[in-house]
């Protein structure tokens, strides 16, 4: 703007221009509209809410895709019998699943330590081998079973029991099917906590909350507009992640979209309440960021986002199932993967409702506008 344009002329304030009176919901409509515009113009929000979960799904989906008959790499210690062992493996039915290298002791030990080899085979004599591996590594345990089976069969063992295997890699039971509802739950938690908690403290720090309550704005309108913006984003988040799973990984969604959105809304509101609670007093965005992370961190690990919480001890599971993200993830999985109805999941739904209700109750008691 040039100086000439900035030069003040005597400002004329004309009054009494007829302006239509604002209705009851005008404040709410404008607050919601302003919030949506702000979100759309904030590139970081668009990335973290929409792009990041898709990248995560894509990355993890490929990393843990059902690999064609996992290959195990093993070391055979260099000795006069090593070549014989390798021949046995080559002649076995499992030869494509086993990659064997003949190396010296030091190389083998180092390779095992670094995860290059799953197993070391030590051909002690012509008719005796010794295995070295760490039983805490699942791939080593599997490798041992496989290699031992291969060697025994190649050396002439006859199986006495006829067995057969039916492979299950149908959509619905793969890792990506487990992952997508978990990511959806985690994303609803993240955007609920950050979208409400961080946004509110930011506005408080900017004294924008104080400026708003200096007007006749209804405080309930403000909170409802914030909640509504979360619900709108939630529908987009659910649609994007599920659509991505269906298109990229041919995921099968058994439950109705309506039920899924209903559960998503419950999750979004419940975590919005938690976000409101963490933001009720904090004056600085630094302190609320810490608080949000403390609340979310345990749930990322415990609530079955990336792996099932069945891995935790049974005593811990009672507690884990009471966490809101566990309830949300379980409800989403049951609905998306098994087509369960809402009525059949009253336990999980109650956990979500109770967390949301308690959070809102406390948050509204403690909330500071200034």
């Amino acid at each position: 703007m040039s100086v000439a344009q900035e030069t003040p002329s005597q400002p004329q304030i004309q009054r009494h221009t007829p302006v239509p009176r604002n209705g009851r919901w005008s404040g709410f409509r404008h607050l919601l509209g302003a919030r949506m515009l702000e979100l759309a113009r904030e590139k970081e929000v668009v990335f973290w809410v929409f792009v990041f979960p898709l990248l995560l799904a894509l990355g993890l989906g490929f990393a843990f895709r059902n690999k064609p008959a996992d290959r195990t790499t093993i070391a055979i210690l260099a000795s006069p019998n090593a070549a014989h062992i390798q021949e046995l493996i080559q002649s076995s039915a499992q030869k494509n699943a086993i990659h064997a290298e003949i190396v010296d002791d030091a190389q083998a030990a180092k390779g095992l330590r670094l995860g290059k080899y799953d197993l070391i085979v030590d051909p002690v004599s012509a008719d005796k081998v010794q295995y070295h591996y760490d039983p805490a590594r699942p791939e080593s345990v599997q490798s041992h079973v496989e290699v031992d089976g291969a060697l025994q069969a190649a050396a002439g063992r006859k199986d006495v029991l006829a067995t057969s295997v039916i492979v299950s890699s149908e959509p619905g039971s793969r890792y990506i099917d487990f992952l997508i509802p978990g990511l959806l739950g985690m994303n609803l938690m993240n955007s609920g906590m950050w979208g409400i908690g961080f946004a509110l403290v930011d506005m408080r720090q900017r004294k924008l909350l104080k400026r708003f309550v200096a007007t006749p704005m209804r405080r309930t309108d403000f909170l409802m507009a914030l909640a509504s913006s979360r619900l709108i984003l939630m529908v987009i988040e659910v649609g994007l992640l599920l659509g991505f799973g269906i298109l990229m990984f041919h995921m099968r969604v058994l439950g109705s979209f309506f039920t899924i959105v209903l559960i998503g809304a419950l999750g979004a509101i419940s975590f919005g309440g938690l976000g409101l609670l963490t933001a009720s007093r904090a004056q600085k965005i630094e302190s609320v960021s810490g608080l949000i992370n403390i609340v979310m961190m345990p749930m990322w690990i415990l609530s079955g986002v990336f792996f099932s919480y069945e891995r935790f001890p049974a005593t811990a599971q009672t507690f884990i199932k009471l966490l809101p993200l566990t309830a949300l993830n379980d409800a989403l999985r049951a609905t998306i993967l098994e087509g369960s109805s809402l009525v059949s999941q009253t336990g999980r739904i109650s956990v979500l409702v109770i967390w949301g209700a308690i959070s809102f109750f406390l948050a509204l008691r403690w909330f500071r506008w200034t």
Binding site: P8, P11, R206, P216
Partner: protein, 309 residues
């Protein structure tokens, strides 16, 4: 007709210890522009925020347009416009969107276009708030107050940190609002702002009003309308009583070697002053006469300058 803004014996104690406001009373008549003048930390912001109904006083009565915050808060919010000392409005909204958002809270706001042109923000109406200059942001803050079509406008340090041109622009806007019959209460620590803008003002220090009146009144109360400032070098070191005895001198103060005399008639004081300097065979380092200002009033009352930063 009730006073536009009135308070009696206002007190505010933070955490039971810090007394920010200590028994402050004032009454502002409709159509007046009233200023709270004082240094930083004097309690101006606490006072104005209590009057705006944003802070609860520890004790004391507040009445705005004859109504109380306790019983008529919602109604009062419709009648007043506020600009806080520092509000950082949403940077991702445009100027127009911001004004429309604030307009939406009032039952009968002014039209956004009218406010945009009144505050000379037309050209910036589609610019994001984050891209505005300091002066433009401050005008927008006042715009969000004026869109309410308020009867009373509260402005907390409206021009702090602005360049001279932006300050004058805001003064014009405030005068225009007052010209339409509006009442203004503003806080400032700028003398010139208070002198030019305010019909009446109260000088606030340590949470109390230490003087109140029109700018001319306050200066009148100093005694002399004029200030003669000078400094001496050499062996001329004389005490204040010597200078007080010069003709037409009302009061004397010594500020780090610079002697300031409040005088009524400089043409009678200065010849006598020069003669005295000559008698003492001292050298006059500088000599300067000017009209007394509110700064002199403040220094006379408190012994300190308004802006000691």
């Amino acid at each position: 007709m009730p006073a536009a803004v009135e308070c009696r014996d206002l007190r505010k104690t933070y955490d039971g210890k810090v007394e920010a406001v200590r028994g402050l009373s004032l009454a502002i008549q409709p159509g007046e522009c009233f200023g709270l003048l004082g240094p930083n930390g004097a309690g101006k912001t606490t006072t104005i925020e209590i009057l705006e109904g944003l802070l609860e006083p520890t004790s004391g009565e507040v009445s705005i347009l004859g109504r109380s915050w306790k019983t008529n808060a919602r109604e009062l919010r419709e009648y007043i416009g506020i600009s806080l000392q520092e509000t950082r409005l949403s940077e991702k909204l445009t100027v127009r969107e911001t004004i429309e958002l604030f307009a939406s809270f009032y039952t009968q706001p002014r039209s956004t276009d009218e406010v945009l042109s009144a505050l000379q923000l037309n050209e910036k109406s589609d610019a994001l708030v984050g891209k505005l200059s300091g002066g433009q942001k401050q005008r927008l803050a006042v715009a969000t107050a004026l869109v309410a079509s308020p009867k009373v406008l509260f402005l907390d340090e409206p021009t702090t940190g602005l360049d001279p041109q932006s300050r004058r622009q805001l003064w014009d806007i405030i005068r225009a609002f007052q010209g339409e019959g509006g009442t203004v209460l503003l806080t400032t620590h700028y003398m010139d702002e208070a002198e030019r803008l305010c019909d009446r003002l109260a000088i606030v220090d340590h949470g109390q009003i230490i003087a109140e009146g029109t700018p001319a009144d306050l200066i009148e109360r100093l005694g002399g309308h004029h200030v003669v400032e000078f400094a001496l070098s050499g062996n001329g070191h004389l005490d204040n009583a010597t200078w007080q005895s010069l003709p037409s001198v009302d009061s004397v103060r010594n500020e780090d070697g610079v002697i300031c005399l409040n005088v009524r008639e400089p043409h009678r004081t200065i010849p006598a002053l020069l003669e005295k300097v000559d008698q003492q065979s001292a050298q006059l380092e500088r000599l300067n006469t000017r009209q007394a200002s509110l700064e002199d009033v403040f220094v006379n009352l408190t012994g300190r300058h308004l802006r000691e930063d």
